[in-house]
Assembly symmetry: C2
Homo-oligomer: 200 residues x 2
C-alpha cells in the first residue's frame, strides 16, 4: 500500500476548505488514503512572521477576489464570512476528539464545519456552534463541548501544530505526498501529476 497523503488545513482558511472538498477524491484516484490534520495558522505564523492574507495591504484585496473566483472555478459553494479570519481551536479540538474514535467521522465533521462557516455563515469559532455541528452528525453534544476545554485535546491540537511546523507546514492547505510538500489549492493539478508520475 502506498503511503497516505498528509493534509494540513486551518478551519479558518478558504483555500483549506476548497482543498477539503477535493483531496479525498483526488487521492482515491491513485489508491491513496488521506490523513487530515487540523492546524492553527496563528501559531504557525508566529514562527514565520506571516499574517492572515486579508490583513496584508494590497494582497488582501486580491485574496478576497481570488477566494470567490477560485470557488466559482472549482464549482464549490462559497460565501465570504463577515467575520474573518476566526480562531479555529473549537472545531479543531472537536475534530480531534471525534478522530480519537473514528477518523472517517472526523473528516465528515471537518467538511460539515467548513460548509457551516463558508456556505451558511455560522461562526464556527464559537464552542456552542462547533459542538452543535458535531451533535448534528450524531455525536454527543455535551461531550463535544467538554472536549473543547479538555487539556487532552488542547495538547493534541498543540502537538498537531508542532508536528506540522516540524514537517515544514507554513500555510493552508498544505499536502505532503511521499515526503514532497505542496502548498496551496492551486497546486491540486500538480499534486495529481505527482501522484500519477511519481514525481519529476
Amino acid at each position: 500500500m502506498p503511503a497516505p497523503l498528509e493534509f494540513y488545513f486551518d478551519f479558518s482558511s478558504p483555500y483549506g476548505y476548497f482543498a477539503a472538498e477535493r483531496i479525498d477524491a483526488l487521492a482515491g484516484k491513485y489508491d491513496r488514503a488521506v490523513n487530515w490534520h487540523p492546524v492553527l495558522l496563528g501559531a504557525i505564523f508566529k514562527q514565520t512572521g506571516m499574517a492572515p492574507l486579508t490583513q496584508i495591504p494590497i494582497k488582501g484585496e486580491y485574496s478576497t477576489l481570488d477566494f470567490s473566483r477560485t470557488a466559482r472555478h472549482m464549482k464549490i459553494p462559497f460565501v465570504m464570512p463577515t467575520t474573518f479570519p476566526i480562531a479555529s481551536q473549537a472545531p479543531a479540538r472537536v475534530m480531534l476528539w471525534i478522530a480519537g474514535h473514528n477518523a472517517e467521522a472526523a473528516k465528515a465533521y471537518a467538511k460539515v464545519a467548513y460548509r457551516a462557516f463558508y456556505v451558511d455563515g455560522f461562526d464556527i469559532s464559537k464552542p456552542d456552534t462547533a459542538a452543535a455541528l458535531a451533535a448534528g452528525l450524531g455525536h454527543d453534544r455535551n461531550a463535544a463541548m467538554a472536549a473543547i476545554d479538555d487539556p487532552l485535546f488542547k495538547a493534541a491540537l498543540k502537538s498537531e501544530v508542532e508536528q506540522a511546523i516540524a514537517n515544514g507546514v507554513f500555510g493552508s492547505p498544505f499536502v505532503i505526498i511521499d515526503g514532497e510538500p505542496f502548498w496551496g489549492v492551486d497546486r491540486l493539478a500538480m499534486m495529481e501529476e505527482w501522484l500519477k508520475t511519481g514525481g519529476w
Copy 2:
C-alpha cells in the same frame, strides 16, 4: 483588437522568469499582445510588509525546493543563483531605456537578462553586467551604462513601481487581463482559461 495583457515582474524573481518564458506565447494564442513592466519587489514589499520568499522561516526552504521543481515541470533551464535575491534596478532601467525606442527589443533584453541570471549565474544587479547584456544584443554599451544612472530612467522605473502598486500588484509575476488580476506563475493555466472563456 482586445486589450494587451499587463505583465509585471521583478528581475530577481524566479517565478517572474518562468512567466517571462511563457507569457507572450500564451497571450498570442488568443491574439493578445503583452505589455512588460519591470518592477521592484523591494519597494512594493514596503507597502505590504512582505519579505523575499527565501528569507521567510520555513516558507523559504519550500520556496527553494519549489523554484527547481517548477522549472523542471515547465522544462525551463534553471540554476538557483548563489546570490539571491538581488537588487534589480540596473537591468530594469536598461530595459526601460531600450523600451523607449523599441518595445520588442526591450522584451528580448529582459529574457536575455533573466537567463543570464537564472541559467548562467551572472549577477545582473551589477551595472557592468546589465549593460554588457544589452551590448550583446547590439545596443550601445556606454549608453546602457549611462541609462542606469540617468534621472530620466530612475524616474521611469519609480513610476512603473508606483503604477504597479496603484494597480494592485504585490508580487511577481503579476498579470492583469481586462482588469482581472492574476498572481503567480502557477496561475498560467487559470489565465489561459480566462482568456479562452472571458472569465467566470
